[in-house]
Amino acid sequence: MSSTPSAAPDRTPAALHERALADLQFIRRTMEGAAAFTTLSGAGLVAIGLSALGAGFLAGSSPGPAWLRVWVAEAVLAIAVGVTGTVWKTRAARLPILAGPLRKFGLALAAPSLAGAVLTIALALQGSYVLLPGVWLLLYGSGLLAGGTFSIGLVPVMGGCFMALGVAASLLPLSVGPLAMVAGFGGLHIVFGVLVARGHGG
């Protein structure tokens, strides 16, 4: 976002008209950019983390069909909570729901989420449940890293943490996977949710 000072003022009507248009566009862009700093719901992230802790407890530590069902249900719940929290906070700030940065963040997160859904089906059909924690953590982390470009600096950091857990879940003994899921989707969401709530208005 360019914010350099104007050059020597040109006060011809044509220059003023151009400057006025440029200023209005600049104000709109800046306000949309600022919205990205306010619309991520820290409380929503904490709620997602708490529900993930519950899911981890219910799912247990042995990936299989029942384990998968619990985590898929948790994913649906988390999406609902995340969207609701963001919409609520965006409306409270009297900003458009589909403002530029929010839309870009959603799109950046949607692509790896779709890839994760397809890979989940493929791996479940092959019975390779133990690979799912690494896949989910890596893809979610990559989505946050990409989407974080349009949001506050904490988001890409959270993405990096998710990717690190994904690497651990993929390369360390397979028993680490379910624990990494709980640490990531539970612990990281709670920690970063608190940081967002404290630093960015709820």
């Binding site: 360019s2 209005l24 600022a34």
Partner: protein, 112 residues
């Protein structure tokens, strides 16, 4: 645009808030109009500027009563948050009004 006639846009320009006519200060006020509060670091990232530049312009807006600044400690590190005052919000509203008036008058002059 060079065929514009009359002095109406110039009249509107004369009424412009000189403080907000600077891009950095306009960016600061616009950002804070969209967010309840933003930290120094958030604003620095959003406006892609340096610590020194941001400090200078934020201070000018603070002196004019457009912003308030609060300093706290977070994990033993200093944290500075800015908020737009009612006066700052009114100034931005007036500035927007003047910008729209300039555009409207220019279009009227061109017969659009």
């Amino acid at each position: 645009m060079s065929r514009l006639k009359g002095g109406a846009p110039l009249d509107a320009a004369r009424e412009l808030d000189a403080l907000l006519h600077h891009r950095m200060r306009l960016g600061l006020v616009s950002a804070l109009a969209a967010a309840e509060a933003l930290s120094f670091n958030d604003l620095k990232a959003l406006l892609e500027t340096s610590d020194g530049n941001l400090s200078v312009h934020a201070r000018k807006l603070e002196d004019a009563g457009y912003l308030t600044c609060s300093k706290t400690f977070e994990n033993r590190r200093p944290r500075t948050d800015y908020r737009l005052t009612a006066r700052g919000r009114q100034a931005l509203g007036r500035y927007l009004g003047h910008m729209e008036a300039i555009i409207r008058r220019a279009r009227d002059t061109l017969g659009h």
